[in-house]
């Protein structure tokens, strides 16, 4: 029971952010769940490690919201896998998520990196 609610909390914390990262990853082309995990790890320099317990619920939720579509395909290594593809609706969502993200970064930045002279006065 505890483990389960941990997963849930993490989804909630990362919600929005994780959705954005997944959608952004899919911008570069259709990908399966394992591929998304690898891609996020590579691009973040091993900093972002997405839990499967967060990833799969997120993917299935995004599909239910029609932001992504899925189909079964053969991978390069002849492995049958479920590929997710971003939809037009998903792209719109991604754009608004990115916009919001930038505003948050900006806002946090302006709070955290206060100019020294102002803080002295």
């Amino acid at each position: 029971m505890n483990e389960r609610s941990q997963y849930k909390n993490r989804i909630e914390l990362l919600q929005g952010t994780l959705d954005m990262l997944i959608l952004q990853t899919l911008q570069w082309g259709p990908q399966h769940g394992y591929g998304i995990v690898q891609a996020l790890r590579l691009r973040s320099g091993d900093l972002l490690q997405v839990e499967t317990g967060s990833l799969y619920p997120a993917l299935h939720r995004l599909e239910r919201q029609s932001w992504v579509q899925s189909e079964w395909k053969q991978s390069e290594s002849k492995q049958k896998a479920r590929y997710y593809r971003i939809t037009a609706k998903g792209k719109k969502q991604l754009a608004s998520d990115l916009g919001r993200w930038e505003r948050i970064v900006e806002a946090i930045g302006s709070v955290v990196y206060v100019k020294p002279e102002e803080s002295e006065s």
Binding site: K8, Y34, T52, A81
Partner: protein
């Protein structure tokens, strides 16, 4: 896929499994490519992935279908639990089924009568029944044709107003004349009701008041008498020896506009041109139509009544002599229309439904008691489940579901039962001359009602105990085995509350049924003021068989002569009305020299009776004389009044010789008779005038006082009449006793059902208190053992156990008494010869319930007293 969501669910589950497998395979492949051994790669990939079932679980939550899967699991679990305790399951199901059936039966009767006042008609909610003057039970038709036409043409609030006159007639032309029920109707009759013909057409506006011998047949008459002849339209049939042409057939199920009364054929208002007088006058015998209107959309009943009152006011102003007395117009929705059967239904059935609802509540309390007792003993199981991770909502849901499963099964059983009991309504009505078609109906409304009530019951029965039980802290329950010794104070309070509720609910049921039973006894024992034994009556369809008036008078005299001469006949007389058969003849009467108060109704009941009528019914003549054979058409008009009429119109004066104007004619009072019952034993007395049969008689009924059993004489009387003319139709030959049963049929319905409900209530309350006291005593076995070991006597133990039962009973009785005395107020109108708070009934009912509950407590107390203290202490 939509119909079988679980198939889609299984497919998606499989796909998720494959998706995760693919993930792992790819992870393993990558690791192997990096140089790890196959074995470590597999282990590492699995470790990295995490808890697979849990990932599946949280992913599935996203599908929004998880509740379905869980529900399936919970239902299976509930079924397993219920199977484990068959005693509880069967008892609870049976009780719930009976309680739901009680409700749905009464509701099906309401549905079949009040909610379905005019079968086949469109939007009956927009229809209102019009009444002029005093609003009472079974009024006579209130409108003349001319008044009706003015109301129809001058109102602004109705989409249409129809008029009809219900009567009976004989279908001749066959070997034997056959009685049929017929209505003279306005041309727009079927239009206003919204009914289309299955064959031919209905009446045209220009046919309304012109003599056109056209007839519309009901579907059932067309089917039974004319073998569904598809070419019936245009054919000529014979009604009362007159040829008429069939122009159409009404759809199946259509029985006319009078609720609960069947009509077989419909003709226009004056099909033969013989009723011109009736069509061109506004008072007296020309007041003969019942009127029903369809409100325009958006118009309220109040607005419509005001509108009609204005029109009526103008009519009264223009024709004041034709409209003496009360002319205010009242509108009733069809479910309680005073014309037809619904007036009676509306006074009885809703009250019975309220009783049935109390039974249902009582049953809920009882089943909740049983459930609670069961859950308390299941506390360990619940605690274990809770500590394994079930949250409270899940536990409550689980327990409520058990209640719902029980009540759905009970609902299904009740459905089967009700499909039979709904048809039993007709049993309550003895054979009578009215074409009653009263029956319960089992349609979707009833089925939905059953489903909803059973679901509600399930919730009620399960939710309360479940919520309580789930409050128990898991650790406490698991730790202390002995915590169950007294069952926890919270549950004890709830149990006590439920027992008190059961006693409090069953007391009003018992009290009401006691009052109804005594009412029934009083009605049966009441003296109606006339002789009911040794009287035989038979109706001769003379006026409807197509004889001329002179022929009729001759035949009537012949009937009287022949029947009087029969051996075993003491007195024979003729009448056109039989008391206490729900039939009622009313007329406006204007006493000479009497100034009515404004809006005072001048309606009197009347009957036309031949010489020796009062003698055969043993109604004493108080003043003046009885009718003689000389009071015929050539003699001056005379009448006999009853005491009520004499006191009302000529208080303190000698009524003999006074004059009364009826139908525009003056009648002289020649006698006063003692009051007797007209319709119901408990009616408020209404003035009654008797006219001489040979001056004003309409229908012909033979009334015979016999020496022996009246029914034995029936064949002889029938033969005597047929000897005069074999084609004379004779109907409704039965004893006065049988006929007058009609008047108490509603009292019989009330007391039968109230009695059954009270019996159910009593059994439930007694088993409830027994169950709780027995259960609690059992939990205290250990304690009782210690007490006895320490020196408590058996009497002490007995007192200990009895005392708690005593308290519960006492509080229940006190609360129940308050509730009951409130409830009896709504039935006070239905009682006769007994007050709503009759002390004898109240005391005996309280004693009965109290004694039964104490007996129920005594049994477990006695058992506890007999226990061996040593074994009792060992027992936990």
């Amino acid at each position: 896929m939509k119909w079988f969501p679980s198939f889609g669910f299984q497919r998606r589950k499989r796909e998720l499994q494959e998706e995760i497998d693919a993930h792992l395979q790819m992870a393993i492949a990558d690791r192997v490519a990096r140089g790890e051994t196959a074995e470590t790669a597999r282990q590492e990939a699995a470790r990295e992935f995490g808890n697979i079932p849990l990932v599946q679980d949280v992913t599935r939550d996203m599908w929004g279908q998880a509740w379905l899967e869980q529900l399936g699991r919970d239902v299976r679990y509930a079924l397993r639990q219920l199977r484990k305790s068959p005693g509880f399951s069967i008892t609870a199901t049976a009780m719930l089924a009976v309680a739901i059936c009680a409700n749905s039966t009464v509701f099906s009767w309401i549905d079949g009568t009040m909610l379905r006042p005019i079968p086949g008609a469109r939007d009956t909610g927009d229809l209102v029944s019009l009444q002029r003057g005093e609003r009472n039970f079974s009024p006579t038709p209130p409108f003349s044709y001319l008044d009706y036409r003015d109301l129809r043409e001058q109102n602004h609030t109705f989409a249409g107003i129809l008029a009809y006159h219900h009567d009976w007639i004989t279908l001749t032309g066959g070997a034997q004349p056959e009685r049929a029920y017929i209505s003279n109707v306005s041309a727009n009759y079927f239009d206003v009701l919204g009914i289309k013909p299955v064959l031919g057409r209905f009446f045209l506006p220009e046919e309304e008041s012109r003599p056109v011998p056209h007839v519309v047949l009901s579907y059932s008459l067309w089917k039974t008498r004319y073998a569904e002849d598809p070419a019936i339209v245009g054919k000529s049939i014979e009604i009362a020896r007159h040829p008429v042409t069939v122009i159409g057939v009404a759809p199946e199920g259509v029985v006319g506009a009078m609720p609960g009364i069947r009509e077989d054929l419909w003709v226009t208002l004056d099909p033969l041109g013989t009723d011109v007088w009736r069509m061109t006058h506004r008072s007296g015998g020309a007041v003969w139509l019942n009127v029903i209107g369809r409100l325009r959309p958006g118009v309220s009943r109040g607005q419509a009544a005001q509108d009609l009152d204005t029109v009526m006011h103008n009519i009264v102003a223009a024709f004041p002599d034709d409209h003496l007395g009360d002319n205010r117009i009242t509108l009733d929705p069809m479910w309680r229309s005073p014309f037809g059967a619904n007036g009676y239904m509306a006074a009885t059935l809703p009250i019975l439904l309220a009783f049935a609802a109390v039974v249902l509540l009582l049953t809920c309390a009882n089943v909740a008691t049983l459930t609670l007792v069961r859950f308390v003993s299941r506390r360990r199981e619940l605690a274990i489940r809770q500590s394994l991770g079930a949250n409270r909502i899940q536990l409550v849901r689980q327990m409520v579901l058990e209640g719902v499963v029980l009540s759905i099964v009970a609902g299904a059983v009740a459905l089967v039962l009700t499909s039979w009991t709904s048809k039993t309504f007709a049993w309550f009505f003895p054979a009578n001359s009215n074409p009653l078609i009263l029956n319960g109906s089992m349609d979707h409304k009833v089925v939905i009602g059953i489903a909803v009530s059973s679901l509600l019951v399930g919730m009620l029965c399960g939710a309360l105990p479940a919520w309580r039980s789930s409050h128990a802290p898991a650790v406490e329950v698991l730790k202390a085995e002995s915590a169950s010794i007294s069952g926890g104070s919270r549950n004890r309070k709830l149990l006590s509350g439920l027992v008190v509720a059961q006693i409090a609910l069953s007391l009003p049921l018992l009290l009401c049924s006691g009052l109804f039973l005594r009412t029934l006894r009083n009605l049966a024992g009441a003296n109606p003021g006339f002789e009911q034994d040794h009287i035989l009556t038979a109706t001769v369809g003379l006026n409807i068989a197509g004889y001329s008036h002179n022929e009729e008078q001759v035949i009537r005299h012949k009937i009287l002569d022949r029947v009087s001469a029969l051996p075993g006949v003491k007195v024979a007389s003729l009448t056109d009305w039989i008391p206490m058969t729900l039939s009622h003849k009313g007329e406006d009467a204007y006493p000479e020299g009497y100034v009515p108060h404004p809006h005072e109704s001048l309606k009197v009941a009347h009957a036309e009776v031949s010489p020796r009528y009062f003698e055969s019914l043993h109604i004493p003549i108080l003043e003046g004389r009885e009718f003689t054979p000389d009071d015929d058409e050539k003699a001056p008009r005379v009448l006999i009044v009853d005491q009520t009429a004499a006191r009302r119109y000529w208080p303190g004066q000698d009524p003999l010789g006074k004059e009364l104007r009826v139908w525009g004619r003056l009648f002289t009072v020649v006698g006063v008779v003692r009051n007797s019952t007209h319709t119901f034993v408990n009616e408020s007395p209404e003035p009654m005038v008797y006219m001489s049969f040979f001056q004003a008689g309409y229908e012909t009924m033979v009334q015979v006082e016999t020496e022996g059993n009246p029914v034995d004489l029936a064949p002889a009387v029938q033969n005597a009449i047929h000897e005069i003319d074999t084609r004379l139709p004779v109907f409704d030959v039965r004893s006065m006793r049988e006929s007058t049963q009609m008047a108490s049929s509603f009292a019989v319905i009330q007391s039968t059902l109230a009695g059954m409900f009270a019996l159910i209530g009593l059994v439930l309350a007694i088993t409830g208190i027994y169950g709780v006291v027995a259960y609690r005593t059992q939990l205290r076995t250990h304690e009782i053992g210690i007490r006895m070991a320490l020196g408590a006597s058996r009497v002490d133990v007995l007192r200990l156990v009895l005392l708690q039962g005593f308290w519960l009973t006492g509080i229940g009785l006190a609360l129940g008494l308050v509730f009951a005395l409130g409830l009896t107020r709504i039935i006070v109108r239905l009682l006769y010869g007994i007050g709503a708070n009759d002390p004898v009934t109240v005391v005996s009912v309280v004693m009965l319930l109290g004694a039964m509950s104490l007996l129920a407590c005594y049994l477990p107390a006695h058992r506890a007293m007999r226990r061996n203290p040593v074994t009792a202490i060992r027992e936990l």
